[in-house]
Assembly symmetry: C2
């Protein structure tokens, strides 16, 4: 007989989301989450840095998808091409099945400023990592940072729509629309001579 059930971390994540949804985030105690899956508060904090992190610990694989997308872009890709590729690759795991789960999770987050803060921090870290990899592809500053933030913004805009009630379009589709809208943000006609971002660096 096993001393401990396996998958403690995953069980804690699932239980936390359940409780955050049913009782509310602030009304839920870490000790409650832990006990609901047969563990103690102390063990919770061995798996997660704090009470919020239990909803965000998978963020690193999400971020890696963005970086993979950048790496997969053509060698002569422009900055806009790079973020388009990052968006395309990272959107893959967002299946229709995941949409329901995402809605639940996001509902909890938007209802709690403390969780929004954490999400913002994760997105900022994502933007920073994306900027680093864009810079490694030869795009100079501050263009790299601007492009990276635009990438995250586009994701955010598309994701919000994807989550909306009744929305059926895929995340990829929505991202492409937002991306096109971003491209129209610049009012000055780009000359054929140069655009530090438009053409291969």
């Amino acid at each position: 007989m096993v001393r401990w059930e396996p998958g403690a971390k995953g069980r804690l994540q699932a239980a936390a989301l359940d409780l955050y949804v049913s009782r509310g985030y602030e009304q839920t105690t870490v000790a409650e989450i832990a006990r609901s899956v047969g563990l103690t508060e102390r063990t919770f904090f061995r798996h997660f840095a704090d009470k919020r992190e239990v909803l965000f610990s998978d963020q690193d694989v999400f971020q890696q998808a963005f970086l993979d997308g950048i790496a997969a872009a053509a060698p002569d890709a422009s900055a806009l091409d790079l973020i388009a590729s990052a968006l395309a690759v990272s959107a893959q795991p967002f299946s229709d099945e995941r949409r329901r789960w995402s809605r639940q999770r996001q509902a909890v987050i938007v209802a709690n400023p403390a969780l929004q803060e954490r999400e913002l921090l994760k997105l900022a870290a994502l933007a920073s990592a994306v900027a680093d990899h864009i810079r490694d592809r030869g795009v100079p500053e501050p263009t790299a940072t601007l492009a990276a933030h635009s990438c995250v913004t586009v994701f955010g805009v598309a994701f919000t729509q994807w989550i909306a009630d009744g929305e059926t379009r895929s995340l990829t589709e929505l991202e492409n629309e937002a991306l096109a809208e971003l491209a129209r943000l610049a009012p000055t006609p780009v000359t054929s001579e140069q655009s530090s971002l438009g053409l291969s660096r």
Copy 2:
């Protein structure tokens, strides 16, 4: 004889920044901040919602400057014009004198993820408010949100440079450069027919 010295809130803010700088944010206790200006922990929490907020409670006047900038723009201004105006107006209070204080404050923030989270939340709120007012000027979604986030991103990029060691250019100057760089982000030549942002709506 007065029962209490006036300006409790301001004294708490100054003392907090001092202690966060000298001892570090996490090593500083709220009770220490309060006692250092002759008050109690309980009073601290009457003025500020939490230990972080003491560095951010002036954010609302900062945000108002952005909104004033939007209001001051010409009636036929494009979205890009609107954010340019918001940036121009909001940059006014950032004098050279303030630069030293900003450096201190920002050094504390970048050293503490908890404070970064709060700053990100404030910037997100700023972006949201800017988006609302841009939308009120007739710019549709998702362009309004995209433009608002770009506005905040440009501010962030410029502010980071403004804070850098040895930097002497004004914030306005740096913002204009970043804004120009953003405008070059779009690679697709804008047709003269339409750009939902480039021309007056």
